[in-house]
Symmetry: C2
Subunit: 230 residues, 2 copies
Amino acid sequence: MSENQNIKVAVDAIVFGYQNNQLYVLLIQQKFGTKDSYWALPGGLVQNDESLEDAVKRELKEETNISVNYFEQLFTFGDDVFRDPRNRVISVAYFALVDSSKLNVKADSDAENAQWFKIDEVPALAFDHTIILGKAMERLKAKLTYEPIGFDLLPKVFLFSELENLYCTILEKEIDRRNFRKKILSFEIVEETDHFSPLKSGRPAKLFKFNKQKYNALLDKGFHFEIKFA
Amino acid sequence: MSENQNIKVAVDAIVFGYQNNQLYVLLIQQKFGTKDSYWALPGGLVQNDESLEDAVKRELKEETNISVNYFEQLFTFGDDVFRDPRNRVISVAYFALVDSSKLNVKADSDAENAQWFKIDEVPALAFDHTIILGKAMERLKAKLTYEPIGFDLLPKVFLFSELENLYCTILEKEIDRRNFRKKILSFEIVEETDHFSPLKSGRPAKLFKFNKQKYNALLDKGFHFEIKFA
DNA sequence: GCAAAAGTGTTCGTACTACACCCATGG
DNA sequence: CCATGGGTGTAGTACGAACACTTTTGC
């Protein structure tokens, strides 16, 4: 019946970064466009002999030359038959996080025109990418509360205030500093380091790091990370 | 570069049912096989002009003639390039629930050889369908605790003991009957009916029903369904 | 009157909430 | 000595956990 199926399979990546109390997303300028072509999520067609995950990683490398800290499949968009006007295309979207060290690296070498946008300054996007981004935001907010993915948006060592601000900013909620700290520390998955913040003002703050081994060990024992708010 | 992409897009459905303290999954016998061909999840190739959701619904109708109570995208399987030995195929898997009234209906009319299997008596499946089924089970267990999808596996009116057993069975946990009832009732999303159980033995039990309108209204007010266990 | 399942209340402990003051540093 | 952010403790409350007896029916 549909032996002459003609549907293309693409992958797209939503890559989030975080810096200075701001959430960012990585976009590329489409190559085929003329001057006012839309910005779009990095992505492209899957090759015949390549897994979906390999395809996203390849596209990300080709288009932005960035490596990510966290990575998972988000959703497959294929209900709008005309989402790409050129052809029937379905897109498997992936959700990724990078730490702030990646944000300043300007689009590398053979990278195309890639750029970080503050999440509330994202322009109109190509195809249905605005919808995809919306779904990625939902996932980010949800996962932040029940998996320790916030650490993948921060440098290896970080201040408690940075972690706290990350939660406030992304979830758009107020958090009690004391309760938040108690809660996180009670999990015993973040550890003090010997180092202190290069302070701008005020009392120097300890730098902390996330102990992923310990988190994985706890997971096996049935531990469940969860942060709730008022 | 990949203008000659040759990847087929399929959809598969994992349809769960529940009856008599047993979870069931719906499988079909593959048509191209000879006698000992594998059982498989219902599904097939997507047509060029059809959305992914429409494709699953169509395949379900063609192959099993069953309509579902709950429906959502599960995951897209496309990392194993050789998951289908005939061709490169990626499969968008959907997760569905039906109530027990569907379980007794033998494969209808033009339905192929469709059959319900107890979840712990599922045979070896075609392709990577065992993996897909595993992922669907995970999703079912998880969702049961944070969304009121258990009701979609039960008849419109049901006994508290049935609801409780559903949770026990699927989650493989023991539940305190009194705490469970209190918890569910506190949500105010299930209501008594005037009817009583056709009793086999013991004291007659009230029949309850799930009020979906009320649930949706509460959702808007920020309500969050959640059931935890010891 | 006995077996079988339904229905119900209380106590206890833990975990979340709310909240305010002192500390260490740089300028 | 002042401004800036960092660091900490306590009391009240609400919710989940544990737990056992009574009720209604059929036989």
